[in-house]
């Protein structure tokens, strides 16, 4: 901030040039929009998710054009202003980037012709505005306010989405142009009011209507360029845009009329009362934005030609003067370091150019002819008088406060001459970027109605009104309607505004206590309640006892499984009498091993029975023709035993930990028994059904012709379902990396096993096993074997060597780090998959060169598996052995 007075030769000026791209983007967009636009509207269509009727359809008609022009035009000025304003800020690049993203989201929002696409942009504006409001994220306050606006608008967004889906379902399409043709059909639909209310909820949160108005003034935590942009052309106007866009669908409904008129009117008055109480210039402007939004909602609620003309003119006028005033306030802040109107005085001598811009903007805000503000107010009163006296009174009251605010904003900081401590004022207007954008906008407030009214009418106002009210035939708006009631009301408004300003210090003095209930306090109350509820619920569910979690989980499982009656046809059980002796023997051994493991008090006995279970299972696989599985399992079980035994010695005995009470264990037994029983019943019933052989048949038929392999299981693994295998391989390596990270890496010296015979034979055996593993790898495609089995054999061979010599010995022999080998393996498999893509085939399609050599990419893939598994498992094994022994 303080760098503003630095000479232009600071290092930042170098970057300044590259940052010029940011204002350039909106300028280019603005000119493109100007050249594309035609008053009858232009459309552009693209496909996105046609199945869900979500298309990239855009449309630029009068209404969209008004908004798009404001977004890009004011966007460019804001970017220029921010270039000067944020000079010296370390994060200015991201700031401009966020601002640009926000602008593009807004632009997407106002040009979408598909309501779901519109919703996507709607949420994007929420997210990008969150980034902008919380830009000073080192400050707690900033983060809090940003989160608040995110929560309010995000919650509204959810309701909005629901409303849009209802609307789309009623119309049978999500395309706006289709929806607008079906208004009669939609009006008779039973969901009509539901969708209307949900959409209004979204709109009211976004456009900061009562009782969600509080997030907008709080969003002042953002740097001033953001406030200027958010409040003038964008974010909050998104809700207004949507109301205008959907007006043809809903405006005939009484709910629509009353909701908009009451909420809008109430917001305008309520926030006007709040605005006049503020002492911070930025907050005064922020609340006055709330007032303007209230008036706009009210006008769209009225929905007549006059009202819509007034709304469009007011959007234009408000965007111009509000952005200009915010920039001026930013300059005051920069120059003096404060925005408090009780401290500021006599700035007219220093901020001359800002003052000129501010006066013009304030005149437009007050509605003095011939500025834009006057024009919009004329039409506002016209439409009010057309509707009812009460509405006119509400509009007038809000405008009276606007006038008072405008006087306060100009008079206090610039002209007031208090006999107070002098304030230090820096020269900031040497930087053109700070005053020129505000000046352009202020001059625009005069020039647009005086010089460009004809163009405005034909290009924006008339097509815009027709967008919202298809039946309308609006007249061109003009300044002079003769001396009539609206003109008198305008004059009266100015006089009353002056009176309020004169009386308001006295009024303020009386307002020591806040008489108005604070919506933000209610919001905080709700948020705190929610947090307390979450804490309470967490405390109930998370008792931090693992056995309780497992108990809950198992009970749920048991209840789900047992909710189906256990029905087993008795003749199925007769099968048990026709079994071979060895089958029964293996089954009994399995069961008793499981029971021993469950009941044993000795670690060693438990591990022994576990391996018993493992090896018996292997036998089962062998028995029923699953040779590959049996081999793999045998090796895995062996390795598992190695691991468990290595670690077990470092864990306390089973008897050292208190067990659960007898009753609790009985409950466990019942639950476990219930789950076990229902799993059995489930399996028996599954196997009673006929098996669908389609898949098995497919693999059997295609294994040789397509996969060039005679071992169907291996062909499935490395060819048909190779991508599963790839994933699995990566999982094992990741598990290895994670497991290694659990053990700290000090190297312990370890005495090798002192047996000459073991050491010598280990050398020979492990060499043999390594050779054998390569053989198994190579033959895997046609006979039992393959990458896994080969790798596991190699690992066991290396493990033998590790026990005989030392982990270091094995590490030296491996030459590369185990994880490096694993990565090499994964890369190899990936390359095998990518090779097929080079031939324009899907990832991992097998390629074969049978005529040249019996080689193909599945073999390369298998070699990749081989290395990945060796590397991954050896990595863990070596680390475990190094750390624990």
């Amino acid at each position: 901030m303080d760098n503003i007075t630095d000479s232009p030769e600071t290092p930042n000026s170098q970057k300044h040039v590259s940052l010029l791209i940011f204002p350039l983007i909106p300028i280019v967009l603005l000119f493109s929009i100007l050249s594309w636009y035609q008053p009858e509207g232009v459309s552009w269509q693209g496909h996105w998710i046609p199945g869900l009727d979500i298309n990239l359809s855009f449309r630029l008609d009068g209404l969209s054009f008004l908004f798009a022009g404001l977004i890009t035009g004011i966007g460019a000025l804001i970017q220029f202003y921010a270039l000067a304003y944020m000079r010296g800020d370390g994060g200015r690049f991201s700031f401009h980037l966020y601002l640009t993203l926000f602008m593009l989201s807004m632009l997407g929002l106002v040009t979408s012709d598909n309501i779901l696409l519109l919703f996507v942009f709607w949420e994007l504006t929420t997210i990008t505005s969150y980034l902008l409001i919380g830009f000073n994220h080192e400050q707690n306050e900033s983060r809090k306010k940003a989160l608040q606006s995110l929560l309010v608008t995000g919650a509204g967004g959810l309701a909005f989405l629901a409303g849009l889906i209802f609307l789309g379902q009623m119309a049978g399409s999500y395309e706006v142009s289709v929806i607008l043709q079906q208004t009669e059909q939609i009006a008779d639909h039973p969901w009509f009011v539901t969708s209307l209310l949900l959409i209004l909820l979204g709109v009211f949160t976004k456009s900061a209507q009562f009782p969600f108005h509080f997030w907008l003034p709080n969003a002042m935590a953002a740097p001033t360029p953001v406030s200027a942009y958010l409040h003038s052309a964008t974010m909050v106007k998104a809700g207004v845009y949507l109301l205008a866009r959907l007006s043809p669908v809903y405006s005939d409904s009484e709910v629509w009329f009353y909701a908009l008129v009451i909420v809008g009117g109430f917001t305008a008055i309520w926030c006007a009362l709040l605005a006049i109480k503020q002492t911070d210039l930025k907050l005064m402007l922020a609340y006055s934005t709330n007032v303007a939004l209230g008036e706009l909602v009210l006008l769209i609620g009225i929905g007549t030609e006059f009202a819509l003309t007034a709304a469009l003119l007011f959007i234009l006028a408000h965007s111009f003067y509000k952005a200009a005033l915010f920039m001026v306030v930013g300059n005051i802040d920069k120059a003096t370091g404060t925005r408090d109107i009780r401290k500021l005085h006599g700035l007219r001598a220093v901020l001359v150019l800002s003052l000129v811009a501010a006066i013009l903007a304030a005149l437009s805000k007050s509605g003095v002819p011939p500025l834009l503000g006057f024009l919009s107010k004329e039409y506002m009163y016209k439409s009010g008088l057309e509707a009812s006296g009460l509405i006119t009174a509400v509009l007038m009251l809000a405008n009276v406060f606007m006038v008072a605010l405008a006087i306060a904003i100009i008079y206090k900081p610039f002209f007031a001459n208090y006999q107070r401590e002098p304030i230090v004022v820096k020269q900031v207007e040497s930087s053109k970027g700070l005053w020129l954008p505000a000046m352009l906008l202020a001059v625009g407030s005069v020039a647009a109605p005086v010089l460009g009214l004809g163009w405005l009418n034909s290009q924006i106002i008339i097509p815009g009104v027709i967008s919202s009210l298809p039946a309308a035939t609006p007249d061109a708006s003009k300044f002079w309607h003769g001396i009539n009631l609206p003109l008198l009301l305008s004059v009266l408004t100015l006089l009353l505004g002056g009176a309020v300003y004169a009386l308001y210090p006295r009024w303020l003095a009386k307002q020591k206590k806040a008489i108005l209930p604070n919506a933000e306090a209610v919001f905080d109350l709700i948020m705190n309640g929610l947090m307390r509820l979450a804490t309470w619920q967490t405390r109930c569910l998370q008792q931090k006892r693992l056995s309780n979690y497992v108990l809950m989980f198992s009970v749920v499982l048991a209840v789900i499984l047992l909710s189906q009656p256990l029905m087993i046809a008795p003749e199925r059980l007769m099968e048990l009498f026709q079994l071979n002796f060895y089958e029964i023997a293996i089954a009994l051994l399995l069961i008793s091993a499981a029971l021993v493991c469950t009941l044993s008090h000795s670690r060693l006995l438990a591990v022994a029975s576990l391996s018993m279970v493992g090896f018996m299972t292997t036998l089962v696989f062998m028995l029923y023709s699953a040779a590959d599985v049996a081999k793999t399992l045998l090796l895995v079980e062996t390795l598992m035993v190695v691991f468990v035994v290595l670690l077990m010695r470092h864990m306390p005995r089973l008897t050292t930990v208190v067990r659960h009470s007898k009753k609790r264990r009985l409950l466990h037994a019942v639950i476990a028994g219930g789950v076990g029983l229902s799993v059995s019943a489930l399996l028996i019933n599954i196997t009673a059904q006929p098996l669908d052989p389609t898949l098995a048949q497919f693999f059997a038929n295609n294994s040789l012709p397509e996969g060039h392999g005679r071992n169907i299981v291996n062909v499935i693994l490395v060819d048909f379902r190779a991508i599963d295998t790839l994933g699995e391989m990566i999982v094992v390596v990741i598990a290895g990396i994670a497991a290694i990270s659990l053990l700290s890496s000090q190297n312990y010296k370890r005495a090798p096993v002192h047996s000459l015979i073991f050491t010598t034979t280990a050398q020979i055996v492990s060499t043999l096993m390594l050779v054998f593993s390569v053989y198994l790898l190579m033959r895997g495609h046609n006979e039992p074997g393959g990458g896994f089995i080969g790798a596991l054999i190699a690992v066991i061979g290396l493990a033998l060597l590790m026990f005989a010599k030392s982990p270091k010995y094995v590490r030296d022999r491996l030459h590369y780090s185990p994880m490096g080998i694993a990565m090499f393996g994964i890369c190899l498999s990936f390359i095998a998959g990518l090779l097929s893509m080079a031939f324009h085939l899907p990832f991992l399609t097998g390629l074969w060169w049978k005529d040249v050599l019996p080689l193909g990419t599945p073999l390369l893939f298998d070699v990749g598996i081989y290395f990945a598994i060796i590397g991954g498992v050896m990595g863990i094994l070596l680390r475990v052995n190094e750390v624990l022994d």
């Binding site: 056995s547 497992v550 089954a587 493991c597 299972t617 793999t632 864990m651 208190v658 497991a739 053990l743």
Partner: protein
């Protein structure tokens, strides 16, 4: 045949769950190992059992012999075994680390998940 192995799977599942509910960290690990064995066996049983006829294609044939074992569950189990192995090794070291860190092998004692408590 399927009925017998379905019953065995049930026993293994029951033993596994019972052990998972225990307090000693090693018992919990044993429970996990038993459950993973049980599930492999369950997949296998559900794919039907064929004694003595491997899903291999003979040297001069283009199709496996009639009635050969179903290759698909075998491929699935192979994947499951290897992933299960990775999981169990990780669990083993995680439990060891947890014991090392907390000084207790009682899973219900391992409650200090956050520093400030």
């Amino acid at each position: 045949m399927e009925v017998l192995w379905s019953l065995v799977v049930g026993v293994l599942v029951a033993a596994g769950i019972y052990l998972l509910l225990e307090r000693h960290v090693l018992r919990v690990l044993f429970g996990l190992i038993l459950l993973s064995s049980a599930l492999n066996l369950a997949i296998f049983t559900a794919g039907r059992l064929t004694p003595g006829l491997l899903p291999l294609i003979g040297a001069d044939a283009t199709l496996p012999p009639d009635g050969a074992a179903n290759p698909l569950p075998q491929a699935l189990i192979l994947t499951a075994i290897v992933i299960g192995f990775g999981l169990l090794i990780f669990a083993l070291l995680l439990f060891y680390r947890a014991y090392y860190q907390t000084g207790s092998a009682d899973v219900d004692d391992m409650k200090r998940s956050e520093e400030d408590e």
